[in-house]
Amino acid sequence: MSTGELQSLLEPELMNQLERMELVSRKIFRGRMKGERRSKRKGQSVEFADFRNYVAGDDLRMLDWNLYARLDKLIVKLFLEEEDLHFFTLIDASPSMGFGDPSKLQYAKQLAAALGFIGLIRSDRVVIESLGQSAQKRGPVLRGRRSVWRMLDTLAEIEPDQNISLADGVKRFCLRNPGKGIIVLITDLMDKQGYESALRYLVARQMDVYVMHVLSQEEIDPDVKGDLKLVDCEDQDEAEITVSAPLLARYKKTLDAFTRGAQDYCSRRGMNYLLAHNRLPVKDLMSNYLRKRGLVR
């Protein structure tokens, strides 16, 4: 991957900004490896958690000898284990994501790269996948600053050609990745079967779900005129319209209802919903919106 492409996904300025950030999960998950994050697990660390009586088999290194000297009892000192965080980014790479300038997919990649970058520098386990990936082929698990290049390579490989329904894609993802953690689903939610079943899978996994709803400016404020035959890029479905001011108003109303519906659905199920459009700089999105929503700190 060239430096230019890297810069298109992660600008140096943004990277400087991201250096100071970390991903925050509202839930505490168990990590796989030692990381920088406090874990539910008690283990070796510097942060004291509790005392308990010694039972046979405990690591003698954990005994608090000072307490033994005072109380003549074998007390084991428990420390909170510091673990890594599982951070998944799931990008919707359906053809509909290829629209807009920059395309919604490109925007999704930028976002994924930014979030992934934070995860990598905080030693979290970062997995970036696209919806169409088969169950067998899992996305690479990335960890550490060194993996930034790999992450970007992975992102670069994602093309808007996977004509797969949102529900199917999420389902496969869940099958591929049994672990828990934070998942950021970047999608335009444009699925005629609906997005509800897809999100339900994620809810069922008890993951900390962030739904990043990305729309292009053209979708928010369509610039169309005259008698048109709209062709759906995914299923070649056609819709004949004669653009008129009332129809445009009606479209906007429908779009509003759609986004509001998604937001309601998410908030009722403990998911975070964030609507972004492709003209909103990623930098702003990270520093303002995501920080407010608590995904980053």
Partner: protein, 715 residues
């Protein structure tokens, strides 16, 4: 509807075809609806947006399609324009047209719907016809009342024709169609010349067919003996209705009361030209001050008179008008005849000159009070006739009457009426054959009679005029009792010693006939009249006066003199009080004999009139009904009034030929007969075409469509 689209598409199926056109456009619109395919991320939201529109998608597709509506509208307008909608009527016919528009008084009737007057309607219809003219057509505009006038000669210039029509104004004159027809005929057949010898009109070129349109209410007498020649076909455009009502003042005059000579009376005649009996109030005012009012009830189609006593009214303007409430109630159509005017002039005595050698009988007879009321009598001797002063005065027409007793004027007759006693005017026989007898009349039986012939030959001294036959003791056997001079004059009971026989010249009339020839005759002369009495009353001989006729002893003598004064002197004065008809030329007379007179019309416009050679002032500008004041050196000398007083004009019901059944359809009776040709009537010949504005609207619509198409303005 049929009247709207008259002269449009004749076969009915064409209408169906036209109706199919919008449907065809609609179909084409669907076929044309080729939508540009646009790839979008998802049709999901769009489909949701147009979901409810699919319920009745066919019409929903058309909904808000402004362009389609505009196209349909454009097509509708184009179809309408193609159908050439127009109001029912005739189309212009022929290449040459004459529009004859009646502008007589009755055309001022306000009984035409949506028009100020019949004339306004006529003008409107004429202009509508002019609008239909093609570039190769020529037309002419004539206005006619009792005189016809060419407003615009043959031209293809529609603007000129329109302007000519606009210029036509309502007049107060009566109607005479013949003049208009003669004028139109003369202009329609320009190739006609009249051979002077045979007085026969010969066509020197083939006359072009000319269409004559007559716009009138038909208020004119039947036109007989007129050949239309090339004036065909013709259209009579009847204007007005047969139900028009009108109440009119048809006469208004003032006269001295018979019983009380110092008091005047006003007579007003009110005619009812409506179908019901009408009651109205006649209001009389003097110089703008209300004098009196009387109610008058007039049965339908009749006239009633009212009389007002004008005590103390000496001079000024009298105005009689019908009360407006009654007029409004009956919806009076014509306003001009609701008022009438009369002028009351000072009763100034006439000026009479008696030239006599000293006839005491005559002088006594002319010195009565009764005579003085008529005129101031000046007395002169025959010598005066020779003076230059007298000759100038006589030539200027200063006298109303000159009585020549036993004498006659020197060279020329004076410019006034004359009465001769025992002498003959020098011009009396100039135009008649001279009497054959040259010999002296037989001597009179009396001495006086023999001498009485002396003064007679004086006048024609220088001219070889024939001598006058002198007879003795003529016996009166007949007299003309119809002539005003002889009214109440009973002759035959007096003796005449000797008399001249005075047969009148050509155009004259014998008033008294004797056994030996005419004794009294009267003859006209250049607007005046000369009455000649063959015998003298007295003759002067040797300084003494002898009786020639003892007529002066009879009652008939002063009666005759009064008649003569009344006839010769009072005629002119009565004339000034008499009413005049609009458009009539008047010969005005004044006492002062100024070179110029000023006449102030009802609209306060002043016209200067110059004196004619005969001492009268010819005034033509009497178009407007009302008062006219004759100003001499800034002072009102006398007045006269002009009134319509024309029963035919006031009877404003649409006059048409045919039966008189008012319930008849107008088309069937609205025609008139000219010569032996029946001119067909058309109710509204002016076909009002609206295809031009429709087409204009369609073009505007096309521009709007173009704009919308380019600007993509959507609702």
């Amino acid at each position: 509807m049929t009247s709207l689209f008259r002269n449009a598409l004749e076969p009915l199926w064409l209408w169906g075809l036209m109706a199919l056109l919008p449907l065809a456009v609609l179909a084409l619109y669907f076929l044309k609806l080729k939508r540009d395919p646009v790839e979008v991320p998802s049709t999901y939201l769009w489909k949701k947006s147009i979901e409810d529109l699919h319920v009745n998608s066919l019409w929903q597709k058309l909904r808000r399609s402004l362009l389609l509506f505009l196209q349909l509208l454009l097509l509708a307008l184009a179809i309408l324009a193609l159908l050439r909608p127009g109001w029912e009527g005739q189309e212009l016919q022929g290449q040459r047209m004459i529009f004859a528009i009646d502008n007589s008084a009755s055309m001022g009737s306000a009984d035409v719907k949506d028009a100020e007057s019949r004339l306004a309607e006529a003008k409107k219809q004429t202009i509508a016809l002019i609008e239909q003219m093609q570039s190769d057509m020529a037309a002419m505009v004539i206005s006619f009342n009792n005189e016809a006038r060419v407003m615009q000669g043959f031209t293809s210039n529609r603007r000129k024709l329109r302007e000519a029509v606009e210029k036509i104004e309502l007049t107060s004159r009566p109607t005479n169609l013949l003049g208009a027809l003669q004028l139109a005929d003369g202009l329609a057949n320009p190739g006609q010349v009249i051979e002077p010898e045979s007085n026969v009109a010969i066509d020197i070129s083939d006359g072009e067919k000319t269409t004559l349109y007559i716009f009138s209410d038909g208020r004119f007498s039947e036109v007989k003996g007129f050949s239309l020649g090339n004036l065909q076909p013709q259209f009579f455009v009847p204007l007005g209705t047969r139900e028009a009502n009108n109440l009119a003042i048809t006469a208004f005059s003032t006269r001295r009361s018979e019983s009380r000579p110092d008091e005047r009376q006003a007579f007003i005649q009110v005619s009812n030209f409506s179908t019901d009996e009408q009651t109205s109030v006649v209001e009389l005012s003097h110089n703008g001050t209300f004098l009196d009012a009387q109610e008058v009830t007039v049965p339908s189609g009749e006239a009633r008179g009212v009389t007002f006593a004008l005590a103390g009214v000496e001079s000024g303007k009298l105005e009689a008008k019908l009360s407006s409430t009654a007029l409004k109630a009956m919806s009076d159509a014509l306003a001009i005849d609701n008022k009438a005017y009369a002028a009351v002039n000072d009763t100034s005595a006439g000026r009479v000159l008696l030239v006599t050698p000293g006839n005491k009988v005559l002088m006594t007879a002319l010195s009565t009070e009764r005579i003085k009321r008529y005129a101031d009598v000046e007395i002169a001797t025959p010598d005066t006739l020779k003076t230059k002063e007298h000759q100038e005065l006589a030539a200027s027409g200063a006298y109303d009457l000159i009585i020549y007793d036993q004498c006659a004027p020197e060279e020329r007759m004076p410019r006034s009426n004359t009465l001769f006693f025992g002498s003959v005017p020098p011009t009396w026989y100039a135009s008649t054959k001279a009497p054959a007898a040259e010999e002296e009349s037989p001597p009179a039986e009396t001495d006086a009679a023999a001498e009485s012939t002396e003064p007679a030959p004086e006048a024609p001294a220088e001219q070889p005029t024939p001598t006058v036959e002198r007879v003795a003791l003529p016996a009166i056997i007949d007299q003309s009792r119809e002539h005003p001079l002889m009214a109440y004059v009973e002759l035959g009971d007096f003796r005449i010693n000797g008399s001249n026989i005075v047969p009148p010249p050509k155009g004259g009339q014998v008033l008294v006939e004797s056994t030996q020839g005419p004794l009294v005759s009267i003859a006209p002369r250049e607007g005046f009249e000369d009455a000649v009495i063959g015998f003298e009353l007295t003759v002067n001989k040797d300084g003494s006066e002898y009786i020639n006729a003892d007529w002066y002893r009879r009652y008939s003598f002063p009666t005759f003199l009064l008649n003569a004064f009344g006839y010769f002197v009072n005629q002119g004065q009565e004339g000034s009080d008499r009413t005049n008809l609009p458009g009539q030329a008047l010969a005005l007379r004044t006492k002062s004999l100024a070179e110029k007179l000023t006449v102030k019309g009802p609209d306060n416009r002043e016209t200067v009139v110059e004196r004619n050679a005969d001492g009268s002032y010819l005034f033509h500008d009497t178009e407007q009904p009302g008062y006219y004041e004759i100003l001499d050196a800034g002072k009102v000398e006398s007045r006269f009034a002009v009134n319509l007083f024309d029963g035919q004009e006031s009877n404003v019901k649409l006059a048409v030929m045919g039966d008189d059944d008012a319930t008849d359809n107008i088309e069937s009776v609205a025609s008139l007969q000219i010569g032996h040709v029946e001119v067909k009537g058309t109710q509204q010949p002016a076909r009002k075409e609206i295809w031009r504005p429709l087409l204009l609207l369609a073009i505007i619509l096309l521009l709007v469509e173009w704009y919308i198409y380019n600007r993509r303005v959507y609702l």
